[in-house]
């Protein structure tokens, strides 16, 4: 059952999960590159001073964005539509033109929607779910294979593909669980299953409407250090009833451009704080080294998908067919086989043929396919073997009690 829970989603969703993992690991490079390229502020500037400096350098500033990497970007009227400039966080001076990396824009869209709109987002969410199922079932399979949690770090035995699968999974599992759980949460949010994560303060109904004061003099902006700023949206030029929209690490509000008063500030809800933390863990934006680790873990996924499929295919190909298998209701001899790697089936096959040669009606079946009744059976043979670290086959042990009781029902009538 557990094995099927692992192999079915692996086979069905292996390709898409591997695809998401590859695109995700490409994206994990972004915060790493930002970390090593962004100039961080040496002097603590407040938002009023920064906004003032930016608006003296650029005309028609629309908004200033402070990214998790520390980069400050200003969007302004570039004549032909919106232009963006990279800002020195220490002085507010323009460092140069800014345009988002086309590669990362492309991969971001590929990763979250495959350029297929909401259908793509659904596929992306489902692949997160598939990865959760694969990671959890895989972990449980691994624990069984190694003979319990206490052996979780013991070297795995098996064929090359099996060992590769197990060793990589063991390294990557925590990263993959973090990526898939946070990704799943983000997907549920974008589909509105988890309620709106953002507290949107109502636009202030009444503003002063007087002559706009110099930006550097606005109290509410002076009170915010750059470190706390997320985004500052400027009022539309010439619209005295408009306001500054201020988003900080702790919430969102508006600033009157005439009086500098903070209006309708709404602190972040618990839901939004959770979302932001999960977003940081998933993207590595603001936690670049963690993102890099997730990216490395994600690189294991294509190999896991490949080796996993190969192991599944080998198991299927090596499945042993038993010739002259009698029906369960007619067999005088029943052989039940518990096998993990198919080897016990080889013994069962030989035994079966030998009994058939002795003119017995023999039925051989998997232990898990135990029938309710074997009315003609006089002999019941159970073949099992050790597995992994030298323990019995996990399924047989897990269901041991149940099967023991069940087998007793058949064994008793066979006694004279």
């Amino acid at each position: 059952m557990l094995r099927r829970l692992h192999s079915a989603p692996g086979l069905v969703a292996g390709l898409i999960v591997a695809f998401m993992a590859i695109t995700g690991s490409v994206l994990s490079l972004q915060p790493v590159m930002d970390h090593f390229s962004v100039r961080s502020a040496t002097v603590a500037m407040n938002v009023a001073a920064l906004a003032n400096a930016v608006s003296t350098h650029l005309t028609g500033v629309e908004r200033i964005v402070h990214a998790a990497s520390g980069a400050v970007t200003a969007y302004y009227d570039g004549g032909k539509g919106v232009a963006a400039a990279l800002i020195d966080p220490a002085t507010g001076a323009v460092l140069g033109d800014y345009s988002p990396s086309p590669i990362f824009v492309f991969f971001t869209e590929l990763h979250r929607s495959l350029f297929l709109g909401m259908n793509g987002r659904f596929a992306s969410g489902m692949s997160a779910l598939a990865l959760i199922v694969l990671a959890v079932s895989g972990m449980l399979l691994l624990v069984r294979r190694l003979g319990g949690w206490q052996n979780i770090f013991v070297t795995a035995k098996g064929t090359t593909s099996q060992r590769l699968h197990v060793e990589l999974a063991r390294i990557a599992i925590i990263g993959l669980l973090v990526s898939s759980l946070t990704g799943g949460y983000m997907s549920l949010t974008s589909f509105g299953v988890i309620a709106s994560t953002s507290s949107v303060g109502q636009f202030p109904v009444s503003v002063d409407g007087g002559t706009p004061a110099p930006i550097s003099s606005l109290n509410a902006l002076q009170a915010v250090p750059l470190a706390d700023l997320r985004e500052l949206v400027f009022p539309y030029a010439g619209d005295r009833t408009d306001v500054f929209t201020l988003t900080t690490a702790s919430g969102q509000g508006y600033v009157d451009q005439a009086t500098g008063a903070l209006l309708n500030f709404t602190p972040n809800s618990v839901g939004q704080s959770i979302y932001e933390t999960l977003y940081m863990l998933h993207t590595g934006q603001g936690l670049w080294w963690f993102g890099a680790l997730l990216g490395l873990a994600a690189l294991c996924v294509p190999v896991l998908a490949g080796t996993g499929t190969f192991i599944w295919w080998l198991r299927r190909r090596n499945q042993i067919k038993v010739a002259n298998n009698a029906g369960a209701r007619h067999a005088d001899t029943v052989i039940l086989v518990g096998s993990e790697g198919n080897s016990t089936w080889g013994f069962a096959q030989v035994l079966h043929q030998a009994l058939v040669d002795q003119a017995h009606q023999v039925h051989t079946g998997a232990m898990n396919d135990l029938a309710v009744d074997y009315p003609a059976a006089r002999h019941l043979l159970v073949l099992a073997a050790t597995y992994g670290g030298g323990y019995g086959r996990p399924e047989d042990r897990d269901h041991g009690a149940r099967q023991h009781d069940a087998l007793n029902q058949y064994v008793k009538p066979l006694r004279p």
Partner: protein
Amino acid sequence: MKKLITVLMLATALGTPTLAFAKDTKLSIQMSNYWGPPAYLAVYLNKPDGTFDSTVWVAGGQSRYQRDLRSWFRAASSSNQRIDGITGASIGGGRTMQVDVNIADSLIDAGYTLHVDSAVQDGGLVRDDAVLKLTQANSGTVVAGRGYVGALSVSF
């Protein structure tokens, strides 16, 4: 009696159009070929005096991004009009959106204007990206946008 029914039917037939919404009002927006994630759009009507009247369509379903469509969001959030049935998916660069919308016949040739605001993540927030006077003569007329909207047209 028969006469009365005929009169009633005639009255109904003549009377209805003043109350009815325009039949088959089609809104069509062709996005420009910009490079970036899908855009959020707000399509809304302004009264002859330039103040907000009503929302016609919103492309993009999440409220935390809808608020980037600021001049629309500001007016709409104080108007308390619900946008449940008139919200669709955000639209990517180069894509075309066509939806059936409700615009009352009485607003046509009455000085109303149709506005489109647009916003793109890590990009611009464009107020009045495209504007169209709501006149019968403008039915089917294609106007160009100045930001993320390439072309806008409405057919009554």
